[in-house]
Symmetry: D2
Subunit: 283 residues, 4 copies
Amino acid sequence: MPHYVLTLSCPDRPGIVNAVTGHLLRYEGNILEAQQYNDRETDRFFMRTVFALAPESLAQVRAGFDTLARAFRMEWSLRDRGEPRRVMLLASKFDHCLADVLYRWRIGELPMAITAVVANHPRETYRHLDFDGIPFHHLPVEKGRKHEQEAALAALIEETGTELVVLARYMQVLSAELARTLAGRCINIHHSFLPGFKGARPYHQAHARGVKLIGATAHFVTADLDEGPIIEQDTQRVSHHDTPDDLIRIGRDIERRVLAQALRYWLDDRILLNGHRTVVFAV
Amino acid sequence: MPHYVLTLSCPDRPGIVNAVTGHLLRYEGNILEAQQYNDRETDRFFMRTVFALAPESLAQVRAGFDTLARAFRMEWSLRDRGEPRRVMLLASKFDHCLADVLYRWRIGELPMAITAVVANHPRETYRHLDFDGIPFHHLPVEKGRKHEQEAALAALIEETGTELVVLARYMQVLSAELARTLAGRCINIHHSFLPGFKGARPYHQAHARGVKLIGATAHFVTADLDEGPIIEQDTQRVSHHDTPDDLIRIGRDIERRVLAQALRYWLDDRILLNGHRTVVFAV
Amino acid sequence: MPHYVLTLSCPDRPGIVNAVTGHLLRYEGNILEAQQYNDRETDRFFMRTVFALAPESLAQVRAGFDTLARAFRMEWSLRDRGEPRRVMLLASKFDHCLADVLYRWRIGELPMAITAVVANHPRETYRHLDFDGIPFHHLPVEKGRKHEQEAALAALIEETGTELVVLARYMQVLSAELARTLAGRCINIHHSFLPGFKGARPYHQAHARGVKLIGATAHFVTADLDEGPIIEQDTQRVSHHDTPDDLIRIGRDIERRVLAQALRYWLDDRILLNGHRTVVFAV
Amino acid sequence: MPHYVLTLSCPDRPGIVNAVTGHLLRYEGNILEAQQYNDRETDRFFMRTVFALAPESLAQVRAGFDTLARAFRMEWSLRDRGEPRRVMLLASKFDHCLADVLYRWRIGELPMAITAVVANHPRETYRHLDFDGIPFHHLPVEKGRKHEQEAALAALIEETGTELVVLARYMQVLSAELARTLAGRCINIHHSFLPGFKGARPYHQAHARGVKLIGATAHFVTADLDEGPIIEQDTQRVSHHDTPDDLIRIGRDIERRVLAQALRYWLDDRILLNGHRTVVFAV
């Protein structure tokens, strides 16, 4: 039997879980996982549930749920877990995040359909990477013509039915307009422990400040640079011995695992937006 | 309105969550937190939920739940979260875990009623610790008379209505008999990352082996030494520079935080037994 | 034979280590530990060495070293490791760092002479803490009379021969003047991972930003608030479930261990200033 | 000027550092890095130093050092840091460690000459990996003919001038004989936090025991399975939710970074043997 993932959020009130589970039960949906969270500060309720269901019941479950959702003023999504989500990868010169995501995808660790690899550097830059049939697009950013490059990118996202754009150390700042278009479906990996060291050359900033740990942050992209909702972060110990180049090397490992973790959460519908923060149902 | 914590486990089957939430809803119980876990290996279902309820409805909720629980073959517990649980602390010469638990209790971080501090060393050993009215019992273990000491201890546990016994670096091995009596309600902190370095002098064992991290493990006590269900563990980096005495010093910090975490989980009914392993609803 | 600690920094050039070790060897000093660091960026050399020496040779070693140090333009210090350093602890309402430092001192983990505990709250606030003979001074900060309080504090530091002032969650900002007076000998624990969340209520700031890790920072105090040279930092994972109060609780553990680590480094002469950063010879 | 790395160990006694630095100074060697360690337990001294030297002085430095080393009964090695070391990679079906080491090598993070990739699976297994000209050898292990396979392997190691053999999740146990031949120059990555879970299927063992952290260990291979000197370890948090497959996935990340770290240490002559333990000059 196929598995489905239902995520929802709504104003908190008694009876939500009972209504949701009752609805699924009515169609013999069998709940396999469930996570809930009540934000006491905002009185908002968040839920994610995975259930097995006979596929012929799906249309009814969905239709009935729509009515239920309206009664509870839910934002919700119901997805077939077996249908791989469509993800586009954007990269620049440094390909450690790109190579890592591709590897994890190849061995089945990140179940998704990669719609394209897009870079502002030519294919040659990634000559040691096997794209295994994934279309590659070279979209260089020429001085004063960023707008055109973004238009081409937006068209590609549209055409390919891309659901998520991953900035895998893509070193171009998106325009406010494109950031808004991709709101909630564009993840960036920033190479610092935000909110420390926003903007350019964060490892050099970290070295200059003399911090004893460095970090990386995966976040949704918004029009406000490095201010989007944080999905995942991690840090690692460094010392006075470490030069900026050492920090860059150590940081590559942090970036790879933080981005992969954020992507895994997203692919498994574990991230819900809560204002400018995230609810991440990690387990 | 008072808060109650319901925990349960039972063979998995459809409808459990719906039945439980429906039952609580019927009496206007308002669910504040819920965690679930389906163990696919054993097909067993685990749940913890916190709900607010008018106290006059409690008897009915409990009675009705008893019927429901029988139908689902549940093991369950329903507890008033406002009633502090009764905990006894056992210590030996090293008092870092004892001092730490007492401090956390004093500032309200570990809400519990401490029924007694029991030690095989005299009160004088802990002269710098303010027990703040907690009864202290000196129960030394004399050669060949361990049985008598344990009888006195068991009597004290009984008399004081102690629900949980915490071995806060209590350096006496409990007899198999006492271990069985306290099954599921006695937590020990072992000063190694189990299953490595069981038994005596684990830091010396760790030093001799040349490990690069040391750890500590909080587990339920069973008749099998250092083999009980693990509740919480943590590790910390060490190096060739560290002597056994350094490991002991570094280890004190790990032990304190691992024991405190395990105790916090227990006090908040977050630990359920799953055979010889634990389900810990950490968040 | 007594142990001495020599620390020095100077412009880098060939022959420093040979000159230092040769000088110690001449008086039969036996080197037990040595750490060195060459900062390639600033071309400055840093060294710490621990050696055993017959006490009757000390005056000669010191006098000869003075000459050598001038030749190499060294800043240096030579200290008898057996003489406990004189440390003053400042606290406010929250006493977790104070209690922790006192405990570690009591069991010998932090070898020092505590000259005084000073607080802007009365002795009663810490009634559960055994000061074990350490003088306590209540120096409240009255509105508009901070200058007078600081004058009293400065006098006390002077009178007691205090070498290091530890702000153990002392919630008063030192005036620029006092900060300058205590340059390089006043350590603060800030309850965030600097440079993130400077200033007041950092856990509330962290919660509002939705970070997935929180941290603490021990640093030397300078006239620039939360901008002094960083000595030690650590972080811990949190989640959307954690309220500001949870962050405060989790943070207490981070603060305690970060401050204790920084203090241990200082007591063992492991921290050297390198501009507005630190060299910490951790092992 | 080229950089050289000198490592040595010898019985501890006064004057070692002075003699070594004096010798280098005589030939205008300029010390760039130095680490020392005195093992008080065994009274053995360990040192690593990096220095710049005019290449025409090398022969004299080496000859003179030989005399000095005999006087101090040193085991020592002096190596040109610019000459990449010769490393052979062995792999089996799972290629995450192999792919990771190759990636790090390609971007210059692990400066070495890879003499060969050897596998008991055919080239086709790694079809997505670009070996970039590195010779590949398929050496399958046929039932009852392991001896022959190892003879071929040993010959290849000999012929290629391989200095270090890396078992990058190579799932064949080396014979005692081959292990002895490769003593001190064969590194394995074991997928558990040793000494816990030696032998086969460690993630399944870890799951069965219910540990709350899993780990990986890089160690030198000896005839005693999983008992060789430990070089590097790390751990990561898991929970009751994680199935053996989840542990395998999480473990891949730990294995990759632990092996890469151990390899980096080895390539930079940071690992010295101290009986059946290691001294690792990490910084």
